[in-house]
């Protein structure tokens, strides 16, 4: 075994142990340790990615001394390594962009606790990506939930605590269902390792034994993970949690935390249940319906929202709907489109949050009325917000366009789902354009235009790029990332296809 094969394990352990380390360090050092850990993990993931692309097949790393059916193992293919790298990049950019807000909004004594949470979050995300064991996945799902809850409530005000409580309730309902589903599967197959379960599930499917319990367990796992990733009717906590927590929390939560669960769900579909059984079951249809409802309802809620961060949060609900619609198509192309959208949404939503905070810093508040003309006052944030909005609406050249294109292509030729997908995509695009373009027009309106009362003059100050060099660099990186994803999607799509082929 090559030395590189140790890297996924090292990255998990590194982020896990740097968490407790951060809790005893003073705030400044905790920040440095956290940054270094994210960078190191990112570099390690890049090495792993290069290695698996070279060998062309997934490798299994044994945790402990016991071989397959007894021991615990992690399994790394191209897609896993790429996701690890991508999550690290986004997390680093989010952390860098929100450093000033964190220092202003979090109490001095609690600064280092924030980094504990971020390290644990990174650890659990990596473990969710790499693990080949269902129960390990459950444990890390819970660690993910707890650290995400910490990220929401670290900025102490009534709204965030209430949002954290609602988040915990929804998440715990989801993890209850997930745990029950895993117990059912374990009960049916007698294994916990994903590959072993798949063999047994295959036999069960061929003989037709235990068909109903099998479907029940697949349904429980899907619904549980869908609840945790805030699919439409389970999104009540989301606007407050994203809208009122500190900037890096909002960006990380929207672009990484929910994506970890979605990735796990896709992995379960491929590696545990097997794709043929999923296609044959009705579970995918349920996800499809809720995805479509979420796409439209999320956008309608976003239109009614005046406050910019809450609007972006509701837009997340719609985008999660897109992803589940793609999974619900239950075709190879649909999955590829969904995973591409996970990546594209991750890059775009964090960009939007960072840009929105930049615009708010140049204005008196965060409502659309107060943001009038802020695009002139903070030029870079204005441009970044426009780029993010165009990408979300689905303009060619940006990443959002590619994912919409792939969703549409995946739906072509599907017997029952083609028409609903097209209609939903069309409606949702129009709605997206309605609220994002409204906001873009708002931030680029002349300063005093449209204000008839006269006394309600808009206050704000000009923010220069030099004032906040770190955030500017992060914003530029986000913009570049978006354009690169939009213009250069071919290799990534090929990588996803290759990764999915290695999944099974």
């Amino acid at each position: 075994m090559d030395f590189v094969c140790n890297f996924p394990f090292i990255s998990i352990i590194l982020s896990l142990f740097s968490g407790p380390l951060c809790s005893i360090l003073p705030g400044k050092w905790a920040k440095r340790v956290n940054g270094i850990v994210i960078i190191v993990v990112g570099i390690l993931s890049a090495f792993v990615l290069a290695y698996v692309t070279g060998t062309g097949e997934a490798f299994i790393y044994r945790m402990g001394h016991f071989p397959a059916p007894w021991g615990n193992e992690i399994r790394i293919g191209v897609l896993e390594a790429f996701m690890g790298l991508f999550f690290c990049v986004i997390m680093l950019l989010c952390m860098v962009a929100g450093v000033r807000e964190r220092e202003a909004q979090i109490e001095e004594s609690k600064q280092n606790l924030y980094y504990v949470m971020v390290n644990l979050l990174l650890c659990s995300l990596l473990a969710l990506i790499y693990t080949n064991d269902l129960f390990t996945a459950y444990v890390f799902v819970e660690i993910n939930t707890i650290s995400a809850c910490g990220l929401i409530m670290i900025r102490q005000n009534g709204r965030t605590i209430e949002a954290a409580t609602r988040y915990m309730i929804m998440s715990l309902l989801g993890s209850g269902l997930l745990l029950l589903g895993i117990c059912f599967l374990y009960d049916l197959t007698g294994h916990l390792l994903m590959s072993n379960i798949k063999e047994q599930v295959h036999i069960l499917a061929q003989t037709g034994q235990y068909h109903i319990p099998l479907m029940v367990s697949v349904g429980l796992i899907s619904v549980g993970l869908a609840m945790k990733s805030a699919l439409y009717p389970f999104h009540a906590w989301l606007p407050d949690a994203y809208g009122y927590s500190t900037l890096s929390s909002a960006a990380i939560l929207s672009s990484l935390v929910s994506k970890g669960y979605i990735f796990l769900l896709i992995k379960v579909f491929y590696r545990v249940v097997g794709f043929e059984i999923l296609t044959g079951s009705k579970v995918a249809n349920v996800l499809f319906v809720f995805g479509i409802v979420g796409m439209i309802m999320g956008s309608i809620n976003a239109i009614q929202e005046e406050q910019i961060t809450r609007m972006i949060a509701y837009s997340s609900v719609a985008q999660i709907g897109y992803i589940y619609m793609g999974i619900g198509l239950a075709t190879q192309e649909g999955m590829v489109a969904s995973i591409y959208h996970v990546i594209s949404h991750g890059a775009t939503k964090s960009l939007l949050f960072v840009a929105a905070s930049g615009l708010a810093a140049a204005s008196a508040g965060r409502t659309s009325r107060e943001l009038v003309g802020s695009g002139y006052r903070n030029k870079l944030a204005g441009i970044a917000f426009t780029v993010g909005s165009l990408s979300m609406v689905g303009m060619p050249m940006f990443s959002g366009f590619i994912s919409k294109l792939f969703f549409a292509q995946a739906a072509v030729g599907h017997a029952h789902k083609m028409l609903p997908t097209f209609i939903a995509l069309a409606i949702s695009t129009v709605l997206n354009a309605a609220y994002f373009m409204k906001m873009v027009i708002c931030i680029y309106s002349p300063r005093y235009g449209g204000d008839t009362t006269g006394e309600n003059t808009i206050v704000g100050r000009v923010v220069f790029m030099k004032e906040q060099p770190v955030k500017s660099v992060a914003l530029i990186c986000f913009i570049v990332l978006n354009v690169v994803l939009g213009l250069n999607s071919e290799p990534i799509i090929r990588l996803i296809q290759k990764g999915l082929a290695m999944f099974g």
């Binding site: 444990v139 707890i146 954290a164 409580t165 309730i169 029950l180």
Partner: protein
């Protein structure tokens, strides 16, 4: 489908009913403490189910006391291990939920989540 199966597997049926009770409590109760109780019922029901599945009639707990006996003598130890892990998880999320509840109660002097939401709207921040 017959009810006979339901009665012969009554332990599993009880576990599922308990799970339903816990789940609906966690989802529907307004009172935060009752929600947390619901959470605990739900988790415990899952552990009951797991423990039942690992039990084999007439065998002993897999603790070797007097020399190694044959595999046939013991029940499956893995579900017990899973239950232990699950208990650790559920204890920590319960603690977290309780601490959130204390925070909310100190701020709003009520345990009713809807009431708290209305107060938040009134604050209008």
């Amino acid at each position: 489908m017959s009810f006979g199966n339901l009665f012969s597997n009554y332990e599993e049926a009880v576990a599922m009913i308990l799970f339903g009770i816990g789940f609906s409590n966690l989802l529907l109760q307004k009172n935060l403490i009752k929600k947390i109780i619901g959470l605990n019922i739900m988790d415990t029901a899952t552990y009951l189910f797991l423990a039942l599945k690992g039990y084999i009639e007439g065998r002993k707990a897999p603790v070797v006391v007097d020399g190694v006996q044959s595999v046939e003598a013991y029940v499956n130890p893995i579900p017990s291990g899973l239950v232990l892990t699950g208990i650790v998880v559920s204890v920590s999320v319960t603690a977290l939920m309780l601490s959130l509840t204390i925070r909310l109660y100190r701020r709003y002097h009520t345990l009713d989540l809807d009431e708290i939401s209305t107060q938040l709207k009134k604050e209008g921040k």
